[in-house]
Amino acid sequence: MAVFADLDLRAGSDLKVLRGMVETAAHLGYSVVAINHVVDFKEKKQEIEKPVVVSELFTTLPIVQGKSRPIKILTRLTIIVTDPSHCNVLVACTHLDVDLVCITVTEKLPFYFKRPPVNVAIDRGLGFELVYSPAIKDSTMRRYTISNALNLMQICKGKNVIISSAAERPLEIRGPYDVANLGLLFGLSEVDAKAAVSTNCRAALLHGETRKTAFGIVSTVKKPRPSEGDDDSLPACKKAKCEG
Protein backbone atom coordinates (compact mmCIF):
# COMPACT_ATOMS: atom_id res chain seq x y z
CA MET A 1 0.00 0.00 0.00
CA ALA A 2 1.39 3.42 -0.84
CA VAL A 3 2.19 5.86 1.89
CA PHE A 4 0.10 8.95 2.62
CA ALA A 5 1.30 12.22 1.19
CA ASP A 6 0.25 15.83 1.48
CA LEU A 7 1.61 17.62 -1.52
CA ASP A 8 0.74 21.20 -0.68
CA LEU A 9 1.93 23.10 2.36
CA ARG A 10 1.97 26.81 1.62
CA ALA A 11 5.36 28.31 2.32
CA GLY A 12 4.93 31.53 4.23
CA SER A 13 7.80 33.73 5.34
CA ASP A 14 7.92 32.28 8.83
CA LEU A 15 10.12 29.21 9.20
CA LYS A 16 8.76 28.42 12.63
CA VAL A 17 5.22 28.03 11.31
CA LEU A 18 6.53 25.81 8.54
CA ARG A 19 8.36 23.67 11.05
CA GLY A 20 5.16 23.36 13.10
CA MET A 21 3.25 22.31 10.01
CA VAL A 22 5.73 19.60 9.11
CA GLU A 23 5.73 18.28 12.67
CA THR A 24 1.93 18.18 12.71
CA ALA A 25 1.92 16.36 9.38
CA ALA A 26 4.36 13.79 10.75
CA HIS A 27 2.24 13.34 13.86
CA LEU A 28 -0.89 12.76 11.75
CA GLY A 29 0.75 10.05 9.67
CA TYR A 30 1.89 11.66 6.43
CA SER A 31 5.14 10.17 5.12
CA VAL A 32 5.79 12.71 2.38
CA VAL A 33 5.10 16.44 2.34
CA ALA A 34 5.86 19.03 -0.28
CA ILE A 35 6.42 22.69 0.52
CA ASN A 36 4.69 24.76 -2.11
CA HIS A 37 6.02 28.06 -3.44
CA VAL A 38 3.38 29.95 -5.38
CA VAL A 39 4.40 32.34 -8.14
CA ASP A 40 2.01 34.68 -9.89
CA PHE A 41 2.93 35.68 -13.40
CA LYS A 42 0.93 38.88 -13.56
CA GLU A 43 3.98 41.12 -13.88
CA LYS A 44 6.52 40.19 -16.44
CA LYS A 45 10.02 39.18 -15.42
CA GLN A 46 9.20 38.41 -11.84
CA GLU A 47 11.91 36.67 -9.87
CA ILE A 48 11.18 33.22 -8.56
CA GLU A 49 11.99 33.07 -4.86
CA LYS A 50 14.53 30.55 -3.63
CA PRO A 51 13.07 27.34 -2.30
CA VAL A 52 13.42 26.57 1.38
CA VAL A 53 16.44 24.42 2.14
CA VAL A 54 15.29 21.40 4.08
CA SER A 55 18.46 21.09 6.15
CA GLU A 56 17.91 24.61 7.46
CA LEU A 57 14.45 23.71 8.69
CA PHE A 58 15.25 20.62 10.69
CA THR A 59 18.43 19.11 12.04
CA THR A 60 16.63 15.81 12.67
CA LEU A 61 13.52 15.13 10.64
CA PRO A 62 10.45 14.23 12.73
CA ILE A 63 9.42 10.58 12.66
CA VAL A 64 6.13 9.65 11.04
CA GLN A 65 3.50 8.46 13.50
CA GLY A 66 3.06 4.71 13.20
CA LYS A 67 6.21 4.08 11.18
CA SER A 68 9.87 4.25 12.10
CA ARG A 69 11.08 6.31 9.15
CA PRO A 70 11.49 10.07 9.21
CA ILE A 71 9.24 12.25 7.10
CA LYS A 72 10.32 13.12 3.58
CA ILE A 73 10.14 16.81 2.68
CA LEU A 74 10.06 17.96 -0.93
CA THR A 75 9.67 21.37 -2.52
CA ARG A 76 7.32 22.36 -5.26
CA LEU A 77 6.60 25.35 -7.48
CA THR A 78 3.13 26.48 -8.49
CA ILE A 79 2.53 28.97 -11.25
CA ILE A 80 -0.74 30.89 -11.35
CA VAL A 81 -1.86 31.70 -14.83
CA THR A 82 -4.75 34.12 -15.11
CA ASP A 83 -4.36 35.36 -18.66
CA PRO A 84 -6.49 33.15 -20.88
CA SER A 85 -4.75 34.18 -24.06
CA HIS A 86 -1.35 33.43 -22.58
CA CYS A 87 -2.04 29.96 -21.40
CA ASN A 88 -5.27 28.07 -21.13
CA VAL A 89 -6.09 25.13 -18.94
CA LEU A 90 -6.69 23.09 -22.06
CA VAL A 91 -3.23 24.03 -23.35
CA ALA A 92 -1.72 23.17 -20.00
CA CYS A 93 -3.28 19.75 -20.11
CA THR A 94 -2.00 18.92 -23.52
CA HIS A 95 1.29 20.67 -24.10
CA LEU A 96 2.90 22.10 -20.98
CA ASP A 97 5.48 20.12 -19.09
CA VAL A 98 3.78 20.06 -15.70
CA ASP A 99 2.89 17.34 -13.22
CA LEU A 100 -0.25 18.64 -11.60
CA VAL A 101 -3.09 20.90 -12.62
CA CYS A 102 -4.50 22.66 -9.61
CA ILE A 103 -8.20 23.48 -9.65
CA THR A 104 -8.83 26.87 -8.10
CA VAL A 105 -11.74 27.07 -5.76
CA THR A 106 -11.86 30.77 -4.99
CA GLU A 107 -14.55 31.41 -7.53
CA LYS A 108 -16.94 29.55 -9.73
CA LEU A 109 -14.94 28.30 -12.68
CA PRO A 110 -15.57 30.50 -15.71
CA PHE A 111 -15.04 27.70 -18.15
CA TYR A 112 -16.26 24.18 -18.41
CA PHE A 113 -13.95 21.21 -18.50
CA LYS A 114 -14.04 19.50 -21.83
CA ARG A 115 -13.57 15.79 -22.03
CA PRO A 116 -10.93 15.52 -24.85
CA PRO A 117 -8.18 17.63 -23.17
CA VAL A 118 -8.85 15.96 -19.84
CA ASN A 119 -8.46 12.52 -21.41
CA VAL A 120 -5.20 13.62 -23.04
CA ALA A 121 -3.99 14.84 -19.66
CA ILE A 122 -4.85 11.53 -17.97
CA ASP A 123 -2.97 9.64 -20.69
CA ARG A 124 0.06 11.87 -20.18
CA GLY A 125 -0.03 11.13 -16.48
CA LEU A 126 -1.05 14.56 -15.21
CA GLY A 127 -2.83 14.78 -11.92
CA PHE A 128 -5.67 17.08 -10.99
CA GLU A 129 -5.35 18.63 -7.58
CA LEU A 130 -8.13 19.70 -5.25
CA VAL A 131 -7.41 21.70 -2.13
CA TYR A 132 -9.54 21.52 0.95
CA SER A 133 -8.35 24.19 3.34
CA PRO A 134 -10.55 26.98 1.93
CA ALA A 135 -13.51 24.66 2.49
CA ILE A 136 -12.61 24.35 6.16
CA LYS A 137 -12.28 28.08 6.65
CA ASP A 138 -15.24 29.60 4.87
CA SER A 139 -18.72 28.44 3.94
CA THR A 140 -18.96 30.11 0.51
CA MET A 141 -15.61 28.58 -0.37
CA ARG A 142 -17.02 25.25 0.72
CA ARG A 143 -19.83 25.59 -1.79
CA TYR A 144 -17.46 26.49 -4.63
CA THR A 145 -15.04 23.73 -3.69
CA ILE A 146 -17.71 21.07 -3.74
CA SER A 147 -19.32 22.31 -6.94
CA ASN A 148 -15.99 22.53 -8.78
CA ALA A 149 -14.96 19.14 -7.47
CA LEU A 150 -18.20 17.48 -8.56
CA ASN A 151 -17.84 19.12 -11.96
CA LEU A 152 -14.34 17.70 -12.31
CA MET A 153 -15.46 14.25 -11.19
CA GLN A 154 -18.14 14.07 -13.83
CA ILE A 155 -15.60 14.70 -16.54
CA CYS A 156 -12.60 12.74 -15.36
CA LYS A 157 -14.47 9.95 -13.51
CA GLY A 158 -12.17 10.20 -10.51
CA LYS A 159 -8.94 9.14 -12.19
CA ASN A 160 -5.65 10.84 -11.32
CA VAL A 161 -7.17 13.10 -8.70
CA ILE A 162 -5.23 14.13 -5.64
CA ILE A 163 -6.51 16.00 -2.61
CA SER A 164 -4.21 18.20 -0.58
CA SER A 165 -4.40 20.94 1.97
CA ALA A 166 -3.19 24.39 1.03
CA ALA A 167 -2.44 24.81 4.68
CA GLU A 168 -0.82 28.00 5.92
CA ARG A 169 -0.92 27.10 9.60
CA PRO A 170 -0.49 23.77 11.40
CA LEU A 171 -4.11 23.68 12.53
CA GLU A 172 -5.41 23.54 8.99
CA ILE A 173 -4.02 20.11 8.15
CA ARG A 174 -6.30 17.09 8.58
CA GLY A 175 -5.42 13.45 9.01
CA PRO A 176 -5.21 11.16 5.98
CA TYR A 177 -8.34 9.13 6.77
CA ASP A 178 -10.32 12.33 7.28
CA VAL A 179 -9.09 13.63 3.95
CA ALA A 180 -10.05 10.38 2.23
CA ASN A 181 -13.52 10.86 3.69
CA LEU A 182 -13.63 14.40 2.33
CA GLY A 183 -12.98 12.80 -1.04
CA LEU A 184 -16.31 11.02 -0.65
CA LEU A 185 -17.97 14.41 -0.25
CA PHE A 186 -16.25 15.55 -3.44
CA GLY A 187 -17.84 12.78 -5.43
CA LEU A 188 -15.09 10.16 -5.44
CA SER A 189 -15.77 6.52 -4.70
CA GLU A 190 -14.22 5.01 -1.56
CA VAL A 191 -11.36 3.33 -3.42
CA ASP A 192 -10.65 6.47 -5.45
CA ALA A 193 -10.75 8.67 -2.37
CA LYS A 194 -8.14 6.60 -0.57
CA ALA A 195 -6.03 6.48 -3.73
CA ALA A 196 -6.30 10.28 -3.96
CA VAL A 197 -4.31 10.57 -0.76
CA SER A 198 -1.81 7.81 -1.38
CA THR A 199 -1.28 6.15 -4.77
CA ASN A 200 -2.05 9.11 -7.03
CA CYS A 201 0.27 11.37 -5.01
CA ARG A 202 3.05 8.83 -5.41
CA ALA A 203 2.31 8.69 -9.14
CA ALA A 204 2.59 12.48 -9.42
CA LEU A 205 5.93 12.45 -7.59
CA LEU A 206 7.31 9.76 -9.87
CA HIS A 207 6.07 11.73 -12.86
CA GLY A 208 8.07 14.69 -11.60
CA GLU A 209 11.18 12.56 -11.20
CA THR A 210 10.95 11.15 -14.68
CA ARG A 211 11.30 14.64 -16.13
CA LYS A 212 14.95 14.54 -15.11
CA THR A 213 15.47 11.23 -16.82
CA ALA A 214 15.58 10.11 -20.40
CA PHE A 215 12.24 8.45 -21.12
CA GLY A 216 11.99 7.43 -17.48
CA ILE A 217 14.79 4.88 -17.60
CA VAL A 218 18.19 6.53 -17.23
CA SER A 219 18.96 9.14 -14.61
CA THR A 220 22.11 11.05 -13.78
CA VAL A 221 23.25 11.68 -10.23
CA LYS A 222 25.50 14.55 -9.24
CA LYS A 223 28.66 13.25 -7.60
CA PRO A 224 29.50 15.14 -4.38
CA ARG A 225 32.60 17.28 -4.93
CA PRO A 226 35.56 16.60 -2.59
CA SER A 227 36.63 19.40 -0.20
CA GLU A 228 38.96 22.15 -1.44
CA GLY A 229 41.96 21.85 0.90
CA ASP A 230 42.38 18.15 0.37
CA ASP A 231 45.70 17.16 -1.15
CA ASP A 232 44.67 13.61 -1.81
CA SER A 233 41.98 14.73 -4.11
CA LEU A 234 43.76 13.73 -7.26
CA PRO A 235 41.46 11.73 -9.46
CA ALA A 236 42.06 8.05 -9.15
CA CYS A 237 43.31 7.57 -12.71
CA LYS A 238 46.04 10.18 -12.30
CA LYS A 239 47.07 8.65 -9.01
CA ALA A 240 47.42 5.24 -10.60
CA LYS A 241 49.58 6.65 -13.40
CA CYS A 242 51.99 8.36 -10.96
CA GLU A 243 52.43 5.23 -8.92
CA GLY A 244 52.46 2.79 -11.80
Binding site: T24, H27, L28, I63, Q65, G66, Y132, A135, I136, K137, S139, R142, P170, L171, E172, I173, R174, G175, Y177, D178, V179, N181, L182, L184, L185
Partner: protein
Protein backbone atom coordinates in the same frame (compact mmCIF):
# COMPACT_ATOMS: atom_id res chain seq x y z
CA UNK B 1 -30.37 -11.02 14.45
CA UNK B 2 -32.26 -7.86 15.14
CA UNK B 3 -30.13 -5.23 16.79
CA UNK B 4 -29.01 -1.73 15.99
CA UNK B 5 -25.53 -1.67 14.49
CA UNK B 6 -23.26 1.21 15.39
CA UNK B 7 -19.96 2.62 14.35
CA UNK B 8 -17.58 3.96 16.96
CA UNK B 9 -15.24 6.75 15.82
CA UNK B 10 -12.08 7.06 17.84
CA UNK B 11 -10.72 10.60 17.52
CA UNK B 12 -7.95 12.63 19.03
CA UNK B 13 -8.25 16.34 19.73
CA UNK B 14 -5.15 18.15 18.48
CA UNK B 15 -4.49 21.69 19.56
CA UNK B 16 -1.70 24.20 20.21
CA UNK B 17 -3.05 25.28 23.53
CA UNK B 18 -2.71 22.74 26.39
CA UNK B 19 -5.71 24.24 28.17
CA UNK B 20 -7.98 23.27 25.26
CA UNK B 21 -8.07 19.60 26.23
CA UNK B 22 -8.78 20.39 29.86
CA UNK B 23 -11.96 22.26 28.98
CA UNK B 24 -13.40 19.24 27.21
CA UNK B 25 -16.80 18.23 28.39
CA UNK B 26 -19.00 15.57 26.84
CA UNK B 27 -22.04 17.81 26.54
CA UNK B 28 -20.02 20.64 24.99
CA UNK B 29 -18.42 18.22 22.56
CA UNK B 30 -21.76 16.64 21.65
CA UNK B 31 -23.27 20.04 20.90
CA UNK B 32 -20.22 21.04 18.87
CA UNK B 33 -20.36 17.95 16.69
CA UNK B 34 -24.11 18.25 16.19
CA UNK B 35 -23.75 21.93 15.18
CA UNK B 36 -21.01 21.08 12.72
CA UNK B 37 -23.11 18.33 11.15
CA UNK B 38 -26.00 20.78 10.82
CA UNK B 39 -23.67 23.34 9.20
CA UNK B 40 -22.20 20.90 6.72
CA UNK B 41 -25.06 18.55 5.91
CA UNK B 42 -28.04 20.73 6.71
CA UNK B 43 -31.31 19.66 8.23
CA UNK B 44 -31.19 16.12 6.88
CA UNK B 45 -27.75 15.55 8.32
CA UNK B 46 -28.64 16.96 11.70
CA UNK B 47 -31.76 14.83 11.91
CA UNK B 48 -30.22 11.61 10.62
CA UNK B 49 -27.16 11.72 12.84
CA UNK B 50 -28.96 12.64 16.03
CA UNK B 51 -30.70 9.28 16.53
CA UNK B 52 -27.87 7.11 17.69
CA UNK B 53 -25.31 9.81 18.41
CA UNK B 54 -23.51 9.84 21.75
CA UNK B 55 -20.10 10.63 23.22
CA UNK B 56 -19.06 7.37 24.81
CA UNK B 57 -15.58 8.00 26.21
CA UNK B 58 -13.64 11.13 26.84
CA UNK B 59 -10.11 11.41 28.19
CA UNK B 60 -9.30 14.97 29.12
CA UNK B 61 -5.57 14.42 29.58
CA UNK B 62 -4.81 12.72 26.29
CA UNK B 63 -7.65 14.28 24.29
CA UNK B 64 -9.11 10.95 23.10
CA UNK B 65 -12.79 10.96 22.24
CA UNK B 66 -15.02 8.02 21.32
CA UNK B 67 -18.17 8.92 19.39
CA UNK B 68 -20.98 6.54 18.58
CA UNK B 69 -23.30 6.83 15.61
CA UNK B 70 -25.56 4.56 13.62
CA UNK B 71 -23.96 2.42 10.93
CA UNK B 72 -26.14 3.84 8.15
CA UNK B 73 -25.09 7.41 8.80
CA UNK B 74 -21.55 7.11 10.10
CA UNK B 75 -20.10 8.59 6.93
CA UNK B 76 -22.17 11.74 7.38
CA UNK B 77 -20.79 12.17 10.89
CA UNK B 78 -17.25 11.27 9.85
CA UNK B 79 -17.22 13.68 6.93
CA UNK B 80 -18.34 16.54 9.18
CA UNK B 81 -15.47 16.06 11.64
CA UNK B 82 -12.73 17.75 9.51
CA UNK B 83 -14.81 20.93 9.49
CA UNK B 84 -14.47 21.47 13.23
CA UNK B 85 -12.04 24.34 13.70
CA UNK B 86 -12.51 25.53 17.27
CA UNK B 87 -13.82 24.50 20.65
CA UNK B 88 -15.84 27.03 22.61
CA UNK B 89 -16.38 26.67 26.32
CA UNK B 90 -17.30 29.30 28.93
CA UNK B 91 -16.61 32.12 26.52
CA UNK B 92 -13.10 30.94 25.60
CA UNK B 93 -12.48 29.87 22.07
CA UNK B 94 -9.60 27.50 21.37
CA UNK B 95 -8.57 26.61 17.82
CA UNK B 96 -8.20 22.87 17.41
CA UNK B 97 -9.02 20.00 15.13
CA UNK B 98 -10.00 16.34 15.29
CA UNK B 99 -7.85 13.55 13.96
CA UNK B 100 -9.71 10.26 13.43
CA UNK B 101 -7.61 7.35 14.63
CA UNK B 102 -9.89 4.35 14.15
CA UNK B 103 -13.42 3.37 13.17
CA UNK B 104 -14.75 0.25 14.83
CA UNK B 105 -17.96 -1.66 15.06
CA UNK B 106 -17.74 -2.26 18.80
CA UNK B 107 -16.22 -0.53 21.78
CA UNK B 108 -13.94 -3.50 22.34
CA UNK B 109 -12.14 -3.14 18.97
CA UNK B 110 -11.66 0.57 19.60
CA UNK B 111 -10.26 -0.23 23.03
CA UNK B 112 -7.76 -2.70 21.58
CA UNK B 113 -6.60 -0.10 19.08
CA UNK B 114 -6.39 2.54 21.79
CA UNK B 115 -4.17 0.30 23.93
CA UNK B 116 -1.73 -0.20 21.04
CA UNK B 117 -1.81 3.50 20.20
CA UNK B 118 -1.13 4.54 23.79
CA UNK B 119 1.76 2.11 23.98
CA UNK B 120 3.30 3.68 20.90
CA UNK B 121 2.69 7.19 22.26
CA UNK B 122 4.43 6.28 25.53
CA UNK B 123 7.48 5.17 23.58
CA UNK B 124 7.49 8.42 21.63
CA UNK B 125 7.16 10.39 24.86
CA UNK B 126 10.08 8.43 26.26
CA UNK B 127 12.24 9.48 23.31
CA UNK B 128 11.30 13.13 23.60
CA UNK B 129 11.39 13.66 27.35
CA UNK B 130 14.09 15.82 28.87
CA UNK B 131 13.84 15.41 32.64
CA UNK B 132 15.17 12.45 34.64
CA UNK B 133 12.04 12.33 36.79
CA UNK B 134 9.81 12.27 33.71
CA UNK B 135 11.94 9.56 32.18
CA UNK B 136 11.53 7.40 35.30
CA UNK B 137 7.76 7.84 35.34
CA UNK B 138 7.40 7.03 31.69
CA UNK B 139 9.68 4.00 31.92
CA UNK B 140 7.60 2.71 34.81
CA UNK B 141 4.43 3.16 32.75
CA UNK B 142 5.99 1.35 29.80
CA UNK B 143 7.07 -1.65 31.87
CA UNK B 144 3.65 -1.76 33.50
CA UNK B 145 1.95 -1.74 30.14
CA UNK B 146 4.11 -4.56 28.81
CA UNK B 147 3.50 -6.59 31.97
CA UNK B 148 -0.24 -6.16 31.98
CA UNK B 149 -0.90 -7.42 28.47
CA UNK B 150 -4.52 -8.21 27.89
CA UNK B 151 -5.77 -6.22 30.82
CA UNK B 152 -8.19 -3.31 30.46
CA UNK B 153 -7.27 0.01 28.91
CA UNK B 154 -7.87 1.96 32.12
CA UNK B 155 -4.47 0.98 33.51
CA UNK B 156 -2.80 2.31 30.43
CA UNK B 157 -4.67 5.55 30.26
CA UNK B 158 -3.84 6.09 33.94
CA UNK B 159 -0.16 5.65 33.10
CA UNK B 160 -0.58 8.07 30.24
CA UNK B 161 -2.29 10.58 32.52
CA UNK B 162 0.50 10.40 35.06
CA UNK B 163 3.07 10.88 32.37
CA UNK B 164 1.27 13.84 30.83
CA UNK B 165 0.70 15.39 34.26
CA UNK B 166 4.39 15.25 35.10
CA UNK B 167 5.23 16.61 31.66
CA UNK B 168 2.96 19.62 32.23
Amino acid sequence: MVRFKHRYLLCELVSDDPRCRLTLDDRVLGCLVRDTIARVHGTFGAAACSIGFAVRYLNVYTGIVLLRCRKEFYQLVWSALPFITYLENKGHRYPCFFNTLHVGGTIRTCQKFLIQYNRRQLLILLQNCTDERERDTIQKSVTRSCFLEGSSGEELSDGGEEATETME
